[in-house]
Symmetry: D2
Subunit: 477 residues, 4 copies
């Protein structure tokens, strides 16, 4: 297993092509745009060396029986899917932001299940290939980015009906030694600082769309891959090197990028699906459900930081004991723990599959996600309510330090006397960063999708059965 | 273990004094006012003989190693507190209403813990007495009513400051052979059809209020006990013997009564606390938290029936496929499963005590209860929205059967052609009964109490720690 | 104009056929089932003689220039549509329940507009006929029931496609002297105690459904009309003659009935539409919007009583000064006034039609209704939360008065010392009655209908225009 | 009256001292940090010359009978307070952001009322002075910034108990020709681009705090005034000169600043209160209520732009016809119009004062504000839900225009074929800007304050009266 610093070292050996704001990012470890996101992943690596967390973050590979970082493990029990949530909360508490490594974890899990199922139906050998790949990832302790969401173009049209055929990832050539793919994956978390990318289809495909039914894994710096790093709320503040950035260490979001595959070669041993359209629906549902459970872990950890920050601010401002403040803090806690509850329960009620791996309770995973998208806004609203207008109008750190008038800001930004204005301003910046636009949107992605609703409908163990409960009570035939 | 019918038989041997509407209820098993509530408890007994549920409802006594009904078991593990929730949901699904036996179960659990703690502090022998009593309850498979809530008079005054000293239960005499108590317990569920009542203090008491710090158990037909059976929404319909009562088999609420103790004698071996004021806070918190977890089980089961009934109604009315109906049903499911999630999680994260028994995660138990009080109203609102105005204006079954004009009601109350008007009317009556005033109120009791809020505040594993998370990220000392 | 007592007298002269619970109601003024609803309408009559309200309740007929009761007036200005809301709130405050007379008022208003429009398109003379009828209603100060909602059978089928052709009201014969109609109107408010019924189509009809496009007015006791009075929550308590009924004077709902037209003759001068299918959509939208505005008036008045009752209860129980109680009362007020605001604004922004009559702002009318269906549940939830479990388990008045044990109830139901248990129990019964099933459902009817949503969509003054606002700011063509 | 350009010219003649990010802003009209806010105010000036809006924006001074811009008018009728809301909505629709000029308007209104009341109690002549000042403001068509919110230091301490006596604005010297003041006003909207600032106390003061009871008006570039312009979400994007700033023309917030008064001289004719502590409560309540009504106007206009932008995005993305999208748009409309309704109703039910000026219905004004703080978050949440993850991860305009790889972004950011990626990206940036952190917080300021709650409690026309309604129905004495 790698330490955070070994992870940083390993990144330095890669040469991904990444652009941002019209410039090329040469060193993801040190570039101010990407550094916080590298730090957040490094923190996840380091948690496996932290005596207080190692029990949770280190586990045993079912492939090799060797000790591995849990974030490369395939869930083998209900306990595993409960411990996943605990890990995510712990990492959220430590970083106060998205630590990025979970999407790839979920992709590994989904491909493990999907390759097993494809082989069963088609007598292919994807699963064997995939296990070999997984063993490599586990042994090298690699961070794998998930490549799932295609740009999708016109949402009212299927993959194969788009004006531009590349708006969904597709195979454009089949060769003796492998395949060539073209397309893009949009807003992928933690790819600029990953070692590998694991690509899978984003939607259920129909017969006739075989070229789009492709899954594979390759190094993130493979020839033909170009990443455009996305903008974030207040991204320019990262370059100011000031506390105005809010969470200067770990950033405020996951560091997403648009990943373009401009005719990229993939060798056969890294191809895990090719043309099995009827299995894509299963795969994307497994991935989506596995991932949706996570939000009740990571976001509750992150919200712990926000609740703590807000409570600290009331100490600084002298409002801590007011009953209306106390009730709002309680409400924030209630909204947060509700998410944690259904996420844990999703693990507790997970089920085994034929492959040996466990699948989260899909109903509860989707419930969790739906509630996250509601509760987070309400928590942020309450944080704003408690913080007050100053949150939106605070002077910059540069102004605070200006020799001409900085003392005036110091004077008037002081609140309860023995706390320095500097600390109050820092905590306000953190709250601002954690409750701003981008951070919120991130949690929302895909929440209200008809797919999520369909899963809820299907997984609610048959409405008919529930109807029968009523009939039985009433003696209706 | 008893079957439902054996339970009925055992009730017939008791002679409790119960009044309702100015008359004495002579036979609780057959009286229309109480029969449905007896049926609901009988159903819980029968579930232990139901092959589909016996694994869940039968367990092993940690006292005797004998097979017992789970509803008399003291939780010995996280699994026990998870299985409790599963049992409650199953029973809720079978009865579609409050099945009453859980409050006494929770009281047994709380007294088990409390007697252990009191003995530890005071070198008393309550715990030994209590274990003996528990063994009796388990072996006889008795239904024990909880006697917890005092009338409380003026809520702004403590127990000992009330104008009438009896507004909280108290000891009025200490004798060689036992004690004499006076007072009342208000709105106690399932007492008219219980075998025993287990009384404990309702609030944290202060030094000087020793007479009020009393816990004990006695047969429900002990001399001096008078019960006044409470009114329920549409209670008179039970006497009509028509489907207008909604859930004619099991009733729509728990069948609560006001239980008056007019100088009742309790022998020493049944006294489990006397004068230890400083332990009352602990006891009531354990009881409240244990009980609050339940709502995510029983109510979700009951709501399964309601969701099923509502869905069935859309079949009858021809609206099942409308997208706005489907979205409302999904929302009902989402609100319901959210409750189940945190209730299960409360069991999963429960902790052992020195006595060996486990205590539910108190934070999650209270989160569950708070959410129940919100979500149930929203679920009912959606049921009303889907059912439409007919729910509030439906003619009676008597009218439907009237030889003069019943055919006109039949004609105009028909909806989708091949479903009889009779069935549609029955399902409407069930929905009406399940969403009406009394049923709603029942779930609300104690929800917004400062005590519940205090527990949330205390159990949220220290705000300070959360504040430190924020400080750490910011390098604030 | 009539006084309340003159209204009662006039009802006694009619002979409507009404059944309830298998018996015929011979005297609607005195029968316990209908008396409270008669009282509520009588109260509306009396408000025109109340010096504090006469300015609001008396206005001048635009037809005759004579003084008339506002509830028969056709709105001629924005002020009229604002004053309507004020009247409704005042009547709601006085009765604490549905006072029934507004649905007929809205039907008069809608038919006034609709007949004008039909004449314009078809050169018919319905409007002239209708003005003559209106003059009669105004001069005699009659209560007119609206007959709008057909049973509708299978909701997925149109009027003419039902298995039974009578599930929507239709003309079955056209004669020299008039027409003969068959069908029913379901859950119509205040028809058992009305003088007349004004019938109009319930839905937009298509070409080929001419027989269903019929509107007319006739006396409520016309030959062939049979009413089945609907059940209400706790309806049997009205016959007990006890305060357990909650609002014993005015009832807790509107007193709805199923009105069956078994081949009823209507003379030509009372026919206001016949066969103009393409106008039915306009008519029902006008009626629905006019009626939906009302809820921000009547329900806010009724909720004033509930908020008052709940606040009074906290006085009796000694919780009035607790900060969490105060916050809940504030929230109830906030939810209630929000409804009033949009209802008033709907009048303020109403528009004139060619007929001279004004039409409410349809967007705001629908917003009001949607919010009513949400806010009322929340208000009731808060009332339940404040009242506590006693609301669902209170002994009966009969028990309180029982010579054997009534003193025990008196003793234990007392709260703050100087308020009698009797008053506390009465106020609890009122809250129970006002927040129970039926009362809630009543407000919900039709709320989430696609029709209501369509109106919102259409009336939101063109999304395109809003899109252009955004384009303009961005200089997008 | 001034045009927008004349307003810009007039600003150029002033010399306010403004710092931002460690540099001095020399030209507020052109500096990228402040230019959008100048533009927004200029737009309000121009609306008086826009034929479609002049009727609303031009009115007649009650002082001089001359035509004036409505934003300097003192409300003389219910119509005025209704038209205020209409003006605010129109300006919000035109600018899509805070147009800043209303806070000063409200301050003028409040001081008009407050000076009248002070004179009545103290026989002072503030009102005469103030009318002279108002006439000047009206004739010159000046933009007046409100100076209301003091830094307040430790919120648990009164003005005079702070460790630093300057944390509330105070008089430090009384001279023959005027007074000298010291202190600061925090997060004041639209002060950097105002002509004048009108200062009033922020809180109800007690006897002994006379030095803090001071109100006055002076030019914004008076000697001793230093402004620190506050940071905004994504403020650095304004300097990039790209569409990434979202609303590049008018900005996304109001342009707030911290205004420091470092011993500033005020001549007597501009002093409008000095030492009358007992009147400060009245003044701040009038200001707060007047201002809170506004949010139902300005924010609904701004949200019209957001709803339009979101709807436009669904056109670009091909999701417009999906039923779940349509329901979300309807919900956004519903939430928005609810605010407008209570704001209009607040004007409709406003009342005259002895001074002739009208005061908004304080209950409805506070209801409006409370609802704004809730509904806006929900509207933003829905906008995020509809927009999807791309909102949080969009590449920059600079990247789009990069000659090396810009074509790839163009290719993959296209959605429905005939709309350019450029337009889709612009609309996404606008939505991002309008729903981000700072913009949200702005609306929240002061919402949950105990003061606002107190107003609701007091203005709910006496709970006692409501209690009596219940008593009357029940014949309770």
């Amino acid at each position: 297993m790698k330490t955070g610093n070994e992870y940083r070292e390993s990144l330095r050996k890669l040469n991904p092509v990444i652009y941002f704001m019209g410039r090329k990012i040469e060193d993801v470890v040190e570039d101010p745009a990407t550094k916080p996101h590298v730090n957040a992943v490094a923190q996840v690596y380091d948690l496996a060396f932290d005596p207080a967390h190692e029990d949770l973050f280190i586990t045993t590979s079912h492939l090799t029986n060797r000790k591995i970082h849990r974030f490369t493990h395939i869930h083998q029990s209900q306990d595993d899917l409960v411990n996943k949530v605990r890990c995510l909360r712990a990492a959220g508490q430590k970083t106060g932001t998205c630590f990025q490594r979970c999407a790839g974890w979920d992709a590994l899990h989904s491909m493990y299940l999907m390759t097993y199922e494809i082989d069963k139906h088609y007598q292919t050998d994807y699963h064997k290939r995939f296990r070999k790949y997984l063993e490599y990832v586990q042994d090298e302790d690699l961070t794998v980015a998930a490549g799932v969401t295609d740009p999708k173009g016109d949402r009212s049209l299927a993959a194969s009906k788009q004006a531009d055929p590349d708006l969904y990832m597709r195979v454009i050539k089949r060769q003796d030694d492998g395949i060539v793919v073209r397309g893009a994956k949009a807003h992928q978390t933690g790819a600029v600082n990953a070692h590998e990318i694991l690509v899978m289809p984003t939607a259920a495909l129909k017969s006739g769309e075989e070229d789009y039914a492709v899954a594979f894994a390759i190094p993130i710096d493979s020839k033909g891959i170009t990443q455009i790093f996305g903008r974030q709320t207040n991204d320019m503040r990262k370059e100011e090197n000031s506390f105005d950035a809010g969470n200067t260490k770990f950033g405020v979001v996951g560091g997403e990028s648009l990943i373009i595959f401009d005719d990229v070669f993939v060798p056969w041993e890294r191809v895990f699906m090719l043309g099995e359209c009827d299995m894509t629906g299963y795969g994307i549902e497994i991935f989506a459900c596995t991932h949706r459970q996570n939000y009740g872990g990571c976001k509750t950890g992150v919200m712990d930081v926000l609740i703590g920050a807000t409570s600290l601010l009331t100490t600084y401002q002298g409002t801590k004991k007011a009953s209306h403040i106390r009730e709002k803090i309680i409400e924030m806690v209630l909204l947060n723990e509700t998410l944690y509850g259904s996420s844990l329960a999703g693990g507790l009620t997970s089920s085994p599959t034929e492959s040996g791996a466990y699948v989260v309770n899909r109903l509860l995973a989707n419930i969790t996600k739906q509630n996250v998208t509601r509760n987070l806004y309400e928590i942020c609203r309450l944080a704003h309510d408690i913080a007050g207008g100053i949150l939106a109008t605070l002077p910059s750190e540069k102004d605070l330090n200006d020799p001409r008038y900085g003392h005036l800001i110091e004077k008037y930004m002081k609140s309860v006397d023995h706390y320095p204005a500097n600390d109050r301003m820092k905590i306000l910046r953190l709250i601002e960063a954690m409750t701003g636009g981008t951070a919120l949107v991130e949690a929302m992605h895909g929440a209200g999708s008809p797919q999520a609703q369909r899963v809820i409908m299907q997984r609610y163990a048959e409405l008919d059965a529930k109807e029968n409960l009523a009939k039985k009570i009433l003696d209706i035939e």
